[in-house]
């Protein structure tokens, strides 16, 4: 009996919060593997840097949905690593803690604080006049090309396509068919590979998704032009041959990735691609360049994205959570050696990504492990870097645009009909969303 009681006491003692006198806060983040280990290093650095707060890092799959449910249940993590798209929809529903007051308490205005990041990433942090989150790691995207395949096709391996016309022309030259069966064995470029930026094609063509008030999917001629271009690829190489060829593609993170295995010569990919190439196809000879230019004043076009750190509404330790988020955004501007890297630069160095901060330390700039980091930085600085539109129904809107893209590449119905459907549907949805916001307006 006494043994049982002792066991119970020990168990209960195990359930109590640690009694080290420090505030323990929870941090849910999507990363596992090397990316998770990089963030864990920053967490450890923060925990060592002071003796008041301990951050407990928890790798969480489907972090958006879990944060949603935990916030609804009133027991969210203190810090959540969200995707940008979640931030706008959560913010519209008051599920996040505004960061403006924390920033002001540091002696800065929100504008001054955000001024330390590249504009494209700073812009992603605020929505409807409030700062809701700050960056963890950012990314920009670029055209990656396989130099060996360029050489084999008689193209200059150091000269990527610079315009859309060149991209299409090179794609043609880089495409090979089996002489016997006529089946495609290599493609120069395919708009649906990897298909992650299909929503951005209208913006690349100079179109817009909304004008600040109304949805403009079908009213912008450039949007239609983008999908006509997608359809032209299917017309040129054939629906069935493309379907058969692409069905043999392996997973993105594998040696059978179509770009890494040499099945596709050019892809639009993010700064992370180098990590995967080093892991699965270390000898691959490739180059990176900005997205080919379509409009005359559109040099260095790129799609930027950024993972964001936010404090869910109802978090038990918002002050401590802010202290950690602030630490992640800090750097040691004088770092000369790897061990001197701090906060954001340690994280981005380990994850081999660019830093979202304008200021880079000498070590981070000169010894970055990514061989093409300079180009990705140049793209982050670009005035033509775009990010997802900041509207609370963007997930739904993107799904509709994906459907328009699917329609174009499968040549199912005229592209203007598909865009008109998207316009009707999202306009209704947008009105519904606005009504919902008005119902809850203070």
């Amino acid at each position: 009996m006494i043994r049982r009681c002792l066991l119970l006491v020990l168990l209960l003692a195990g359930c109590r919060p640690p009694s080290d006198g420090r505030v323990h806060i929870t941090y849910w983040e999507k990363w596992t593997g090397a990316e998770g280990a990089a963030m864990q290093e920053v967490v450890d650095q923060f925990n060592r840097s002071q003796d008041r707060i301990v951050v407990e890092y928890l790798a969480t799959s489907a972090v958006d949905r879990k944060t949603l449910v935990a916030t609804a249940g009133g027991d969210p993590p203190d810090v959540a690593g969200l995707w940008a798209v979640n931030v706008y929809s959560f913010a519209d529903r008051q599920a996040l803690t505004p960061l403006d007051d924390f920033i002001r308490a540091e002696g800065d205005t929100p504008e001054q604080w955000l001024g330390r990041y590249y504009p494209v990433f700073a812009d992603m942090c605020h929505h409807r006049g409030t700062v809701w989150a700050l960056p963890s790691t950012p990314a920009t995207t670029a055209l990656h090309w396989n130099k060996r395949l360029f050489r084999e096709a008689g193209l200059d391996p150091d000269r990527p396509p610079r315009t859309l016309a060149e991209l299409d022309e090179f794609a043609e030259k880089l495409t090979k068919r089996d002489p016997q069966t006529g089946q495609i064995v290599q493609l120069g470029f395919l708009p649906q590979e990897p298909g992650w930026w299909s929503w951005a094609f209208p913006a690349w063509f100079g179109g817009r998704y909304w004008d600040g008030t109304n949805i403009t999917a079908a009213t912008e001629p450039a949007n239609l032009a983008a999908y006509q271009w997608v359809e032209r690829y299917t017309r040129r190489f054939g629906l069935e041959p493309i379907r058969t060829f692409t069905s043999g593609f392996g997973n993105f993170a594998s040696a059978r990735n179509p770009f890494m295995s040499g099945k596709i010569a050019m892809v639009l990919q993010g700064v992370w691609m180098d990590n995967f190439i080093n892991q699965f196809q270390p000898g691959l000879e490739y180059g990176v360049a900005p997205w080919p230019q379509i409009l005359p004043d559109q040099a260095n076009f790129t799609v930027a994205d950024c993972d964001l750190l936010a404090i869910p509404r109802g978090a038990k330790h918002p002050q401590e959570a802010w202290a950690f988020i602030k630490f992640v955004s800090s750097i040691n501007p004088h770092a000369q050696r790897e061990e001197e890297l701090l906060g954001m630069e340690l994280l981005c160095y380990r994850q081999k990504k660019i830093s979202p901060l304008r200021q880079w330390s000498p070590f981070f700039e000169q010894h970055h492990p990514h061989r093409h980091i300079a180009l990705f930085r140049q793209l982050a600085e670009s005035p033509h870097a775009i990010h997802i539109p900041k509207i609370g129904i963007w997930l739904e809107y993107r799904r509709e645009l994906d459907s328009v893209f699917e329609n174009a590449r499968l040549m199912l119905k005229p592209n203007d009909d598909a865009l008109a459907f998207c316009q009707r549907r999202i306009t209704e949805s947008w009105q519904w969303h606005q009504r919902s916001l008005e119902r809850r307006a203070p």
């Binding site: 949603l68 609804a72 929809s89 739904e396 499968l410 199912l412 119902r439």
Partner: protein, 299 residues
Amino acid sequence: MTTREKRHLRNGLLFCAPWFIGLGLFTAYPVVASLFYSFCDYSVLQSPVWSGTENYRRMAGDTLFWLSLKNTIIYALLSLPAGMIVALSLALLLNTEVRGMPVFRTIFYLPSIVPMVASAMLWLWIFNGQFGLLNWALLPILDLFGLKPPGWLGDPTWAKPALALMSLWGVGNSMVIHLAGLQNVPKELYEAAEIDGAGTWRRFWHVTLPMISPVLYFNLIMGIIGSLQVFATVFVMTGGADGAPARSTLFYALYLFSVSFYDLRMGYGCAMAWVLFILIVALTVVATKLTEKRVHYAT
């Protein structure tokens, strides 16, 4: 009621209490709450606001709601009869007296216990347009007629039939129920039919089918419910809730999930769930009425 009976009643209720509480808290309450939420503007993140029949009215004009319903019904019409026929045929084969029958029964049941995601991954390869086992087998046959095998999951026309075909992989459970039903058919009925001169087909039609009709009815109802709620396999095989390719596999449960958890319109999701519930009840009643005269229960 004597004191003893009262004590027994109290003890009985106490023993049942965990289940009553569990059922009330985790099943009955959410079900009732979802009915209330279906009349609300509710995102989970904020308190529900009463919006009357807005969700239901919007559903009536929602093209994707109707498309998802249509896709689901087509899938059910493909997978349900096929599943019933295959399960019954396998059960009939496994009911014959052959040496090593327990081994055959185990083999045919095995796919049902393979985890869903693992079998989905396996079928993704079987349906692969270029290297898939299915097209490898079909190619020489179709080639004779100058035809080409379809791209299955990559082709909007063939994605639903492909998923219906894959659903046959999981007929093991209904097969076992059919088999149990077949084994309960009294031998003397077959003997009597044989003496009356009935052949194999007549014995099947006039003895087996009527005798196992309650089992067929049960499997039919479970099949209707299962096929209208199909979710996980499609979610894994088509890479999310978009119903790729080109929304040809946007089934009801996928659309419901997507509006509730991605678009944060939980009120609309609850309304969709109630419509599905009413639809399933209606189909069950129709199925019961239609089969009333053909289902025979042993008395």
